[in-house]
């Protein structure tokens, strides 16, 4: 049996001419391949004799499965296997990131629309799909749990009866997955000191990650009884930990390789086809490929939690916040996914980047029959930021104060104590970020007017759809700022592993970097090569495809990979460098006293002193030996939040961004054109400035999307998804994307490698509330939900 697929993940090499270390905008090694269509994404994987897997999913949101009849499907020519729950090989039948509550295949009951019920392997994807249509599932529908009221009503159906997970003991109701209060100071007493008290209720819609590369992977059965899995994911080792027990295999027999990932944004933290593909491959003895289409992809991953948020703030006449009370209810859907950690984030970051000593906070996630929700860029901090920033504008208005000045008066800074009791112990330039976006020149007014000509509709709401020539158009400007944690929090042992090898190849020193980091488009591999060049003084760096032959790199999420796996590469390189210098001292130490006395560096392929004197060529130091090390790297430890008070040193690092949004609103039609979204963000240290700007612009655009268009619409009567397609789940096109000027600050965090700060998520937070604030200013409407749609701006909502 052939062991290697014909189309395998691309091995990336940086050209020999590249000199770039950290701080340079070196080009991505995968960039040209992606632009020219040569890059092998997971959906391009191909193997001789492979079968195609397909997943039969539930058509209803909540039902008892009375029976499943697969006989007709199995009898279809070309079908090799049909699997249901009864075919699972071991007693481990559920998985999950934190709580193992998700069935590999539904067992007697489905809890959400689109839940996997059966698997088919066939010699053609069409055959598999048609066979799936022949499986008869007898559903007896059950009453639905769709919101907090129906989840906690007397006699409410329990999503998971007999829970024994580690949250079940402290939640007030079994349909509440996790609840995190935070109490600090005395909010009631502080409220008595307030001159104004402002409250509000907000709703944040269900956003989808909408990555362009759908879930895909290829499972190849191996002769040793194991399986090789090529898959697009965010964390190989987390997948492995969940996959192997279900298959009944020891972890070393499940060999995983990252294949080309077309975006992730949190949507690949949970498993999709991984176990399914392996089950079919092991059952049929043939390689099995599974690729979701766009429709299925909307059911193949978790979404951003929709949230209902209630906030109250008080302030004194002179513009100082007195207290904050809030309650954040996140809809976790049918299974736990990352919800508990999202609750922790929402609670601990609910006050925003402000100094508020007296707080009373509650965040919780529900179990419902809605689609499961979990990780997405911003992870609980997004929903909170939308609400607290709306509140900041309201309080400022109540005080008749400029909204930016009000924010600046209450802005946190280094040394501020968070509601969790944690001190912010690195730069927190919140007021400065606001100052910078505010100081930018405004984009010119009425850019659609042309001397004597017809208006340029591209500069107007509606664009080429030609809905206005300026009629009804009002400009609005809005500001927002946010705070996001970086890295895994609440006591999680968050580490990354890097293996680095240095040797002479073809007369030149070459560094080989091997990690299990999932490159999902963020540019981590670019940065790894830059770090290796900086630390080892080589120009040639080879990046080995990520796989499980090397230790875990943790997840590509929480804005953590440059900090963590970048940190691991740096750390291993430093140890490799020490070893190389020892070799040099052994070989050449007697030729020059500086070997013993000076600080030595590796630069330009040579060993040099910190004074710049060249001591030896790396080629001569290494000879035909190689130095090869694999080491783990950890950030400083964190603590869980106390379950009653929410106190604890919970987060590793914080990240801040501020936005100014300028919009034109067609107030009669309710159409919005975002003209400019200016950003200022502190990145600690920009390892690759071009990638940094790309991340900030991407995050900003994703925040814009959920401000004005992106929402998965779930029918409250059926809990079925109504718009699982790119026809009706809209994401911004280039014509919706404004100019995004980016102002980058580099204030080092002394705890972090190179002083860097994780950057990927912060811009997603403040973008949305800034756009909403601008639309509020243009329309004078309260607008308490995101996304805002034309009917919300024109008072033409659905008939009640």
């Amino acid at each position: 049996m052939p062991q290697q697929p014909r189309v395998t993940p691309t091995e990336l090499r940086q050209g020999a001419g590249t000199k770039g270390g950290i701080g340079e905008s070196t080009l991505r090694p995968d960039g040209t391949l992606k632009v020219t269509g040569e890059f092998a994404y997971a959906s391009d994987m191909w193997h001789e004799d492979m079968l195609w897997g397909h997943t039969l999913r539930s058509t209803v949101a909540h039902a008892e499965i009375r029976s499943i009849d697969t006989s007709e499907a199995l009898a279809t020519p070309g079908v090799y296997a049909v699997l249901t729950y009864d075919d699972l090989p071991t007693g481990v039948t559920h998985y999950g990131l934190e709580v193992q509550d998700t069935p590999v295949l539904a067992h007697g009951r489905v809890r959400h629309h689109g839940e996997p019920v059966a698997l088919i392997a066939a010699d053609h994807p069409e055959t598999a799909r048609r066979a799936a249509a022949k499986i008869r599932v007898d559903y007896a529908e059950l009453p639905l749990v769709t919101d907090e009221a129906s989840a906690t009503a007397p006699g409410a159906p329990l999503l998971h009866e007999g829970r024994d997970d580690h949250h079940s003991g402290h939640v007030p109701h079994p349909n509440i997955l996790h609840r995190q209060p935070i109490v600090r100071g005395d909010a009631a007493a502080a409220a008595a000191r307030a001159d104004v008290i402002v409250s509000g209720e907000y709703y944040f819609g269900m956003q989808d990650q909408a990555f362009l590369g759908p879930e895909s992977g290829l499972a190849v059965p191996a002769e040793d009884g194991g399986v090789d899995l090529y898959v697009a994911t965010q964390w190989l080792h987390s997948d492995l930990r969940q996959i192997a027990p279900v298959l009944g295999l020891p972890p070393e027999k499940v060999r995983m390789t990252l294949s080309g990932v077309g975006g992730a944004f949190g949507g690949r933290e949970d498993l999709s086809m991984q176990i399914h593909g392996c089950l079919l491959a092991l059952r049929t003895g043939k390689p099995v490929k599974i690729v979701y289409n766009r429709f299925e992809s909307f059911f193949g991953h978790v979404h951003r939690h929709p949230a209902r948020l209630w906030y109250e703030h008080g302030a004194t006449r002179d513009g100082k916040l007195t207290h904050m009370r809030c309650r954040i209810v996140l809809d976790g859907g049918a299974y736990a996914s990352a919800s508990p950690a999202v609750v922790g984030n929402a609670a601990s970051l609910s006050v925003g980047p402000y100094v508020v000593d007296d707080v009373d906070i509650e965040a919780l996630a529900l179990y419902t029959n809605n689609p499961p929700c979990g990780a997405m860029r911003g992870f609980g901090a997004v929903q909170a930021c939308f609400a607290y920033e709306a509140q900041m504008d309201k309080v400022a208005k109540a005080l008749d104060m400029d909204p930016v000045e009000f924010r600046q008066r209450n802005a946190m800074s280094q040394g501020t104590i968070m509601p969790t009791g944690q001190s912010v112990d690195s730069p927190a330039p919140v007021a400065e970020l606001l100052r910078r976006v505010k100081a930018r020149p405004m984009p010119p007014e009425q850019q659609w007017t042309t001397a004597g000509q017809a208006p340029d509709v591209r500069a107007l709401p509606g664009g080429l759809s030609n809905t206005t020539h300026g009629e009804g158009v009002v400009r609005g400007v809005g500001y927002a700022v946010g705070i996001k944690n970086v890295g895994f929090s609440e006591g999680f042992d968050d580490y990354s592993t890097a293996r680095v090898r240095i040797e002479v190849i073809g007369g030149e020193p070459v560094a080989v970097v091997h990690t299990a980091m999932a490159e999902v488009g963020q540019g981590g591999i670019t940065v790894h090569a830059q770090i290796a060049r900086t630390e080892l003084g080589v120009s040639q760096v080879t990046i080995i495809p990520a796989d499980t032959r090397v230790g875990s790199a943790g997840s590509t999420s929480a804005s953590r990979q440059t900090y963590m796996t970048g940190g691991a590469v740096k750390n291993t390189c430093e140890h490799v460098r020490e070893r190389v210098l020892e070799m040099g001292r052994r070989r050449f130490g007697s030729y020059h006293p500086a070997w013993a006395t000076a600080e030595l560096l590796l630069e330009g392929g040579k060993v040099v002193t910190d004074g710049g004197e060249v001591l030896a060529d790396l080629v001569d130091v290494l000879g035909d030996e190689a130095v090869d090390m694999e080491l783990e790297f950890r950030h400083r430890p964190t603590e869980p939040f106390d379950l009653r008070t929410g106190q604890g040193f919970g987060h590793v690092q914080y990240s801040f961004a501020a936005h100014r949004a300028v919009v034109e609103v067609d107030t009669e039609l309710g159409l919005v054109k975002v003209v400019e979204l200016a950003v200022a963000q502190d990145v600690g240290k920009a390892l690759n400035p071009l990638s940094v700007i790309g991340q900030i612009q991407g995050g900003t655009t994703q925040g814009l999307g959920v401000a004005v268009m992106e929402e998965i619409i779930v029918d409250p009567k059926t809990a079925r998804v109504r718009n699982p397609s790119f026809t009706d789940y809209l994401i911004p096109t280039i014509l919706d994307t404004p100019t995004i000027p980016v102002d980058v600050l580099e204030l080092a965090d002394d705890h972090a490698p190179y002083g860097l700060r994780g950057i990927g998520e912060a811009p997603t937070l403040s973008s949305t509330p800034a756009v909403l604030a601008a639309i509020r200013q243009a329309t004078g409407l309260a607008l308490n939900r995101a996304p805002v749609r034309p009917e919300h701006l024109t008072g033409t909502g659905p008939a009640a």
């Binding site: 709401p461 080429l464 004005v708 014509l735 009917e791």
Partner: protein, 295 residues
């Protein structure tokens, strides 16, 4: 699924006669989506891409005969003067790639109320040239849309061309979507002034089970323009006329609530667009009229 590839129009008609359930495909904008998502599984696909004449157009004295497969990008580039409403509508179709492949024949064949071309065709006035082995006929556009995604074609008929009246006055077209490009219409409106006949025509998309005209609005405006002698005077429109026109256009809608928008919004937006377009077209008419008068 059999893939029929006629090399000529006659072969295409013969194939359609032999397989009346065959689904014609040209640009594939609608058909491929339905097939890819398994919403439709026809026994036969009838590929019209080898029938070159379908991509041709002729500009006659009073009409443009537009081949069914003439891509939208062609309408935008080459027929802006003759068919300004349809050219504006073409701008709003999907993406540049799709505008290079898709044509009006597909919109007519699918007959979705959301098809971008329909309001422009209704407003301009058009006839659909349908043909079968039995012969050819012209179907007035007003009689073409018979129900939700249904049209007046017989099972053995194919759309060969559409004959659209050349503009003799200003035309406008607007589409509302919740993003600024690549979006299915929440609703759309088209308006054409026909000074030669002293009439106006309208078209409404995505706000009723089929594309429709706002006939009461047209009749009101025709009468108002006539009574006040505005075609001759080129005087400004009284705001009350525009307001009533908008109200009647709004009243011509029979929309639903769906994931793209509410019925209430659609009615409201059609009224706004009708009022704006009447302003734009009338100002343009006045400009041209008064210039002529001065010359």
């Amino acid at each position: 699924m059999d893939f029929l590839r006629p090399a000529s129009w006659e072969e295409a008609l013969a194939a359609k006669a032999a397989h009346p359930a065959a689904v014609p495909i040209a640009g594939g904008t609608d058909v491929m989506v339905e097939i890819n998502f398994d919403h439709r599984r026809p026994e036969h696909l009838l590929d019209l891409n080898r029938v070159g004449e379908l991509s041709e157009w002729e500009v006659g004295d009073e009409t443009v005969r537009l081949g069914a497969s003439v891509p939208y990008s062609r309408v935008m580039d080459s027929l802006r003067a003759e068919l300004p409403g349809l050219a504006l509508a073409s701008h709003t179709v999907a993406s540049p790639q799709i505008r290079n492949r898709g044509g009006v024949g597909g919109n007519l064949g699918t007959a979705s109320p959301a098809g971008d071309a329909h309001p422009a065709l209704l407003a301009a006035g058009a006839e659909v040239e349908a043909e079968s082995v039995r012969g050819s006929r012209r179907i007035p556009i007003d009689a073409f849309y018979t129900g939700v995604k249904r049209n007046a074609l017989e099972p053995d008929e194919l759309i060969r061309a559409v004959h659209v009246k050349k503009a003799t006055g200003p035309q406008q077209y607007s589409k509302v979507g919740t993003r600024n490009a690549m979006v299915i219409a929440v609703c759309a409106f088209g308006l054409a002034l026909h000074p030669e006949s002293r009439t106006v025509r309208t078209g409404i998309g995505s706000a009723a089970p089929t594309p429709v005209r706002a006939q009461a609005a047209e009749e009101f405006l025709n009468a108002a323009l006539e009574e006040a002698g505005l075609w001759d005077s080129g005087a400004p429109l009284p705001p009350s006329v525009a307001a009533r026109f908008a109200e009647l256009a709004s009243g011509a809608c029979n929309p639903i609530d769906d994931v793209r928008g509410t019925a209430k919004y659609r009615r409201h937006a059609i009224g706004v667009l009708a009022r704006r377009q009447l302003g734009w077209t009338w100002e343009q008419y006045r400009g041209a009229h008064n210039l002529e008068g001065a010359a």
